[in-house]
Symmetry: C2
Subunit: 276 residues, 2 copies
């Protein structure tokens, strides 16, 4: 007996499909316990490819015994019309929102496919690559040169999430993010790492719950003093004491995603994304 | 005389606002020449904050002399109802698509705010951090240990885009991406860097137009032999010759965004995002 248990979700785009997937995921997380087989269909940008895609969707409908859900960011009305004929719930992002935007702005949309990296934004694209390079070159206290260029400087104990956050700030928002570990030597001196003092307004701290830190450090160095709960407790307490003394804002990264940490930091120190 | 020339776009979210901004940007790029002052309003998750936000939107309408455009990913119907009263074009992603999804899935949505990092996905969250750490530890040929763990191994001449692409694959898709420069020694030996041979099915090449490479390298080391157009031409030709000889698929990164390069690679070597 064929009991249908799984349904398929398609993310269809004429470009990378990242917008379609972002939209689809954020909607699907609103349905507890629903598991959908997920299929990405990027660069579906010709009538022929769209027809193939439609056939694949209808086939999934037959195999699953349930209509697939299609999240589409196809721009071209002609391509949308083809895909709409597939046997599925068709959620079409551009078709839904372009018309009210055209009316409001008093302009016709260009229906341009994949405008991610047109010549008009190549300067901001360069800025973004530069931010990534800057951030890699200022990871984990490698150097304290060039800090006047930084948009933000993160501090915190080893393994509290500084590196992924810095890279996300660079990659997503084009921000130059340096980061420095707070280490036992800093706690003994009761002072920030050298050179950070004069960039106080850019400093932001991350802290973490000691048991979570222990778990993360244990994966790196099992049974080490570095990973021991007692040591984690001590370092976290000392780091928080130091940040309090120095008047540095901080947040607890323990239960937050990289996205949430990054966005909170931008909000707290009033950073705007670079123009890209 | 007050000539209204600029309009404001608001990205309003009960979470990070990254989805709202991604969706909004992809719509706005469809309108050539339209410049909107962009305002991010993350963590707008209480009735009070939404009322403040609505007031700010209506104020922008008065100041601009033009209604703002609001891209909202607010989940709660009550919060949406408040914001809808602001003087703006109100584009509400959840309200638009949740109803047809509920009907199709035969389920009520949970209307849960900010489910980015719930306890249910903490394992996949760990996978993502691990992918970032792996990628940083396997950047630019640092080591050829642990390559059996890699999902993809990028090769190409210095400064052709390997590092940003590797980091994006890790950050966005949770993939472990190693990368190796192809250098003059490899061209002389007419062979891939040591240790890559046995991971042939994971190899993917990036190439670049020589004049673009010259521009990028010149920023790093002006007037160097490294950046000279003649040398760039030579290295690119040799790298392409080597990749052809070794049967490695490649793409030209010159006119592509990091997103486009990453998505194309995933498609070509049939990678799926990690489960996160």
């Amino acid at each position: 007996m064929n009991v249908p248990t799984v349904r398929t979700a398609f993310f269809v785009s004429d470009g990378t499909g990242i917008t379609a997937e972002t939209l689809g995921h954020s909607l699907l997380t609103q349905f507890e316990g629903v598991k959908l087989r997920q299929v990405r269909m990027p660069f579906t940008n010709t009538a022929e490819k769209v027809r193939e895609c439609a056939a694949r969707i209808s086939q999934a409908a037959r195999e699953d015994g349930l209509r697939p859900v299609v999240f589409s960011t196809l721009v071209e009305p002609d391509l949308n019309a083809i895909l709409r004929q597939a046997d599925a719930l068709y959620l079409s992002f551009f078709e839904t929102f372009i018309a009210p935007l055209e009316a409001e702005l008093g302009l016709k949309s260009t229906h341009t496919i994949g405008r991610f990296h047109s010549s008009t934004d190549s300067n901001s694209y360069k800025d973004r690559i530069e931010a990534i390079n800057y951030t890699l070159g200022h990871d984990d206290g490698i150097t304290n040169k060039g800090l006047e260029e930084a948009d933000v400087i993160l501090v915190g104990v080893s393994r509290c999430g500084k590196t992924p956050t810095s890279l996300y700030l660079a990659m997503q928002f084009g921000l130059k993010a340096a980061n420095y570990p707070l280490i036992p030597e800093d706690f003994e001196r009761r002072a920030l790492p050298e050179g950070l003092d004069k960039h106080r307004q850019k400093l932001f701290g991350l802290t973490i719950q000691p048991d979570r830190l222990q778990a993360i450090r244990t994966e790196r160095r099992p049974n080490s003093r570095y990973a021991a709960l007692e040591n984690c407790r001590h370092e976290v307490a000392e780091a928080e004491k130091l940040m309090r003394k120095e008047g540095i804002r901080w947040l607890d990264s323990s239960t937050k995603s990289i996205e949430e940490i990054s966005t909170t930091i931008m909000q707290e120190i009033k950073l705007e994304r670079s123009s890209y």
